[in-house]
């Protein structure tokens, strides 16, 4: 396994962990106030950072135990181009989501709490899509 794929794999596992945590936290989101949702999202960002660190350590140990060798991490022009393209895809996805959410707020009376949550979920989805694209382009 090469270092780049390992990084994307860790990122996807972290996204899955955070997604599961958020799913259980939001089981009663309709009763949450805007400030409570704000606090929850800040907590989620903190948890995703901690989860990323833990997942990095765990995956590195697991790959080591399974006898897999992580190839030396070399970042070359192709990796830079892939990173840039993935970043562009994330930005386009997130921007489109944001426009749709603004339209929903403006014309369909989407509440502030729901809008806040949807923006976060949109960012989350764009990030996961970007990681999957990277995995595809690194092949």
């Amino acid at each position: 396994m090469d270092a780049k794929r390992k990084q994307v794999l860790i990122s996807l596992i972290t996204a899955a962990t955070v997604g599961a945590w958020l799913y259980f936290q939001l089981s009663s989101w309709t009763s949450l106030s805007t400030s409570e949702v704000g606090k929850l999202l800040v907590k989620t960002i903190g948890i995703s950072i901690v989860a990323h660190i833990i997942n990095t350590i765990v995956i590195t140990i697991v790959v080591g135990l399974l006898g897999g060798r992580i190839a030396k991490d070399v970042t070359d022009e192709r990796d830079a181009a892939i990173e840039l393209q993935a970043m562009r895809a994330i930005l386009v996805g997130f921007s489109m989501g944001l426009v749709i959410i603004f339209a929903l707020v403006g014309w369909c009376d989407l509440g502030a709490t729901s809008a806040l949550l949807t923006i976060f979920l949109c960012m989350y989805a764009a990030n996961v899509a970007g990681d999957l694209l990277k995995l595809y382009w690194y092949r």
């Binding site: 090469d2 190839a71 070359d76």
Partner: protein
Amino acid sequence: MAKSKLDIGNNVRKYRFELDEMTQQALADTVGVSRQTIVAIEKKRYSPSLDLAFQLSLAFGKSLEEVFFVNQGDSST
């Protein structure tokens, strides 16, 4: 002006084998890129920058035109 994508071919795999069956990793280490990039170039999934193209041709001791070429017949110009 209409732009058409050039069909750029290469002899990287051929010259790698001519050079004592050099491995993809060894070539990657020589030119300072990852093995995946060499794989992508050989499979024509990635066109290298001019800088990397020159580095590859220098690694093989060949001219740039010998390593990289345009498939005239296949290109839709």
